[in-house]
Subunit: 381 residues, 2 copies
């Protein structure tokens, strides 16, 4: 590849766009707030790294008291094994390639997984025995999201009984993701009461079977600051809180001023009347609707939340100027708060950290992708 | 990072999922078909690399007769300068960082860009003069997509007249993207006639001004095989045709059997009745609706197109089993045809090429991302 000038940008104006930038003060505040919440309520904090995929931020979460880390992919686990020896895969490890990858994580790492079926447990149990590797297994419970998870207390008990049959597996407890609880905070009460009842029934059934769950692990950023109200929960796994986004702000889980990551973009065309086009499209912002619907656009300007990204191509975003008198010129720069920040991070290899207009630092999104480069055929380009 | 076993997979069953795999025979057929179409009709073929972002495929497109390559990002240009000396940026190059990056491409590369406004032209013209670098500038025309582009012949002539005022800029011609022409082939006729009229009027006006466009560059995969019917067009820039996807098949621009890239995924849960959950979610498939609407899901199984991915989390995809008697077991593998293949490639670093059940090769998605690693601060991790 031809060599490019390695001019490290010092000011935001020197950054090529579109580019994800993080307000370092806001991020630090977000990290502190969640750490303090967990500490005050005696909840173990096991942040989900899917949002940032960066060892540097994970290390900071651990420094602030996190018990360990939660991952969604094997590559996230492999990368995060650099900074912690306590990793939970909150995704069913199914298929020999994936289980094999799991069992070759560094030997100092305590491995935990979550699953919901004997058919997922059996191959894991056999391979763990073959590898002589201990794995802590959580029973994943469906508490209303209708995605994965056992459906009732009987299934939970049956699965826990199967787990402890394997010599190298231990029963970790219960795990659930309350992703369906996305109402505004003052509407979450009934959902949280229902959650407490459902979880309580399963805990009691396990207790009766002599399998009291050592850990009960819940979510999430949207409902994160309410988990202490649900009796029985011992651990939380929020992810998005590190950056927050338009969705968490929209549902009241954070303030607009808590959105730490924005996509810096440039107005590249105003040729079509009534709109302005920026260089951030679906490949920079993701195409994630707000819970209230896609007609609310795919992002909004940090300084002008009434201006939204209404249409996108892969590398074009169309700003709706219908609710503003602002008329940007070609070349003007804007900062877009994305609807779902995890998807923005997922497509970027580096994030820039800034204060005011100064680029202070940058970090690699080290756990981005799948890590399949290690499997590529030698000599092929 | 801890070392992983470098077992190069030989069979699909050995690949960790989710993973993008390409049927090499289908891809070769797709490449041949478009090359033959362009050759038969005397159209210059300048494939858009946004779909594959891979030098190996670009080199094959060039070997099959492509005149040069089209890019959407500066990073794509930089990577593709390895395999061609003729690159078009089909995105307005606005902002000094971007223009500076453009002008430092290897000196052997003929640089072309497209833009629609004097405000975009002026900084480019000045910086190109400062660099002593020749740039060919196309006037981008809005032919109905309402995204970017001059709105009429007067604007096109005025912009072309400005281009030739700069000593190191040349007038490349007209460029448009007919992304709005996505009807099925038998419904495209009226749109193509309208396109011919609009383009013809602009060509005539430029001719009258002594600025006959040397090149008239059009799209696209959806309307790609109809461009020869539009008088005046000399060049086409299709991208998606190399892989095709559920959208191109749905609108009739290819057959289902022409879809070359699928996402291999594993069923990880069947705990919730009436559905099966795979390990390919929005981070593997993108969240791109079909033109007919998001209620048609975000992908469909290659071998069972009636089974669609109806809901997704970041790493979970929920298969709707409502139109099939098939009931997959946990551990079963499926191949998902994504709605929009460009977004799948955009989030992967490596693609595996297969024939039957054998993994024959793999290649890096070398132009993925933004290339901002070169701008990162030394020593920061």
């Amino acid at each position: 590849m031809p060599s490019s000038p390695r001019i490290v940008p010092r000011y935001l104006t020197e950054l090529e766009t579109p580019v994800p930038i993080v307000d370092l003060d806001r991020m630090a505040q977000n990290l502190d707030t969640m750490a303090a919440y967990a500490a005050v309520h005696g909840l173990a904090l096991r942040p989900h790294v899917k949002t940032h995929k960066a060892t540097r931020i994970a290390a900071e979460q651990l420094r602030l008291g996190a018990r360990g880390l939660t991952c969604a992919t094997l590559h996230e686990m492999e990368v995060m094994s650099e900074v912690t020896d306590d990793l939970l895969l909150a995704h069913p490890p199914v298929g020999d390639p994936k289980i094999g990858h799991l069992l070759t994580m560094p030997g100092n790492v305590r491995l935990s997984v979550a699953l919901d079926a004997p058919a997922a447990l059996l191959p894991l149990g056999l391979l763990a025995r073959d590898h002589g590797r201990e794995v802590r297994v959580f029973v994943e419970v469906d508490v209303g999201m209708r995605r994965v998870g056992v459906q009732n207390a009987d299934e939970a008990v049956a699965l826990a009984e199967r787990i402890v049959e394997f010599p190298t597996l231990t029963f970790g407890g219960l795990l659930f993701y309350p992703g369906h609880i996305r109402e505004t905070p003052d509407m979450q009460g009934p959902a949280l009461r229902r959650l407490e009842q459902d979880i309580g029934a399963i805990i009691n059934a396990l207790d009766d079977a002599g399998l009291r769950p050592p850990v009960v692990s819940g979510g999430s950023t949207p409902a994160g600051f309410r988990m202490h109200e649900v009796a029985g929960i011992t651990e939380i796994r929020p992810g998005t809180y590190v950056y927050n986004d338009r969705t968490t702000a929209e549902i009241g889980a954070c303030a607009w001023e808590d959105c730490a990551l924005t996509v810096l973009a440039t107005v590249v065309s105003t040729a079509v009347p009534g709109q302005a086009v920026i260089d951030a499209g679906s490949k920079a912002l993701g195409r994630e609707p707000l819970p209230a619907g896609a007609e609310l656009g795919f992002g909004a300007l940090l300084d002008r939340p009434e201006v939204t990204v209404m249409r996108m191509s892969e590398e074009h975003g169309v700003l709706d100027l219908g609710r503003t008198s602002w008329r940007p010129a070609v070349g003007e720069r804007v900062r877009v708060v994305p609807n779902h920040v995890c998807m923005v991070v997922h497509s970027n290899d580096v994030i820039f950290g800034m204060r005011d207009d100064v680029v202070e630092t940058s970090w690699p999104v080290a756990a981005r992708g799948r890590g399949y480069e290690r499997l590529t055929l030698a000599g092929v380009r």
